[in-house]
Symmetry: C2
Subunit: 220 residues, 2 copies
DNA sequence: TAGTGGTCTAGACCACGGG
DNA sequence: CCGTGGTCTAGACCACTAA
């Protein structure tokens, strides 16, 4: 049951890091190993992950240091897909053939697709309108009756990969009312294709982002 | 001199992977360790990286498998910054105070900034126009006389972090001619801020992307 | 010279899944 | 049951850097 040792150490380190000012050195890996009663390799794994995530940085053979907060790696491009905060309101859903979408999901044009349209918002702030397309045959009947479960795209992404295309366009009139914006406002529409681990397309999403409420920002 | 053992193994595995069809299993970590005459931990490190990069995927306790090519992790958002292919043609450069840009670089409004404007292209295909801003005081005089060296942003990024904001807008008239597009075309302008490892802003870039030649696509 | 991160070894135990 | 990946140990040697 217990979490792995390196994750426990990682979390404890994270607490320490938050108390320290940027560019201050942390203990050496050997010292940390003694402090936490673990081997150096285990401690190193925890530190490695914190470096990859941007909380720490290493400087040659001089040591490991606390990074500035603005170097922590973030990604709002996945928007409502991976973020936990926004609420969603479903506008409608249906099941039918959608020939234009079928190629993205790698299915025949006459196969059924489940389409859900929703608005993502945080309180009064309207972030985006989202069209979500599922291959009907990959969805169980139980899931159809419990759409809430389906709408948590997070779980799907964790299991596979996500490819996103950023498309500049003018906001279509029918979504302008949903987002309370002028039709023709320049926006970024994000096409997301979620694949299983083995590369099979599972979900296709089009997100129409409100540029005033939902800035897309990525730190690598 | 020699590359680390795990990198050598990684590259050899990569060659094997390319010959195998998707979803075929690779040898177990223990078998690979014997085959390459290395410890299991060393082999595992090679496999780990290939999994992170999307070339392989693991399936519970069943084994490790070759991933479909479309799950390989890519990123064209960094565009000309990280890609090697495009050629660049400098349009002009100057050194002066630019009060609007100074805040991004975390300097005073009356500090000098080096500004370079260039067009990125592959042959006849016009990909983007790029405005690059450097803090003058961080650049040596030698570099000013050898701008080519400065224009290789790749090296800067490797040393630190990059934060990108994606901004939808209409193509400004003065760049429309450069990209041979109609002014007012909806485009994505990417603001990139490159920081050193310790979090100090070093370079600020605005990239005006030609949507017809330069699709922005990311696979995580 | 002493300490750092980077790499590597040769074992070990665990939980889990398929015969 | 046995084989898989996931984790962990207690050492080791190296290149590099700062004192």
């Amino acid at each position: 049951m217990g979490a792995p040792r390196y994750l426990e150490i990682k979390n404890r380190l994270l607490e320490e890091i938050e108390k320290q000012p940027p560019n201050s050195p942390i203990l050496s890996e050997r010292e940390l190993a003694i402090q936490y009663g673990a081997s150096r390799m285990t401690v190193r794994r925890a530190v490695d992950e914190l470096v990859v995530e941007g909380f720490l940085y290493r400087n040659g053979n001089k040591g490991t240091f606390v990074a500035a907060r603005n170097t922590i790696k973030k990604n709002t491009a996945t928007g409502s897909i991976l973020a936990e905060e926004p609420e969603s309101t479903m506008i409608y859903f249906n099941i039918k053939k959608i020939p234009e979408i079928a190629p993205f999901l790698d299915i025949l044009e006459d196969e059924a697709i489940l389409r859900i349209v929703r608005v993502n918002h945080i309180g009064e702030r309207l972030l985006s309108v989202e069209e979500i397309y599922y291959v009907r045959s990959l969805i169980s009947d139980d899931d159809i009756n419990d759409l809430k479960h389906l709408l948590d795209l997070n779980g799907f992404v964790k299991q596979g990969t996500i490819t996103q295309r950023f498309v500049p366009m003018l906001l279509p009139a029918h979504y302008a009312t949903q987002l309370e914006l002028a039709p023709g406002t320049p926006i970024i529409m994000v096409e997301s294709l979620i694949r299983s681990r083995s590369g099979v397309p599972v979900i296709y999403v089009k997100t129409y982002n409100n540029p005033y409420e939902n800035a897309i920002e990525i730190t690598y």
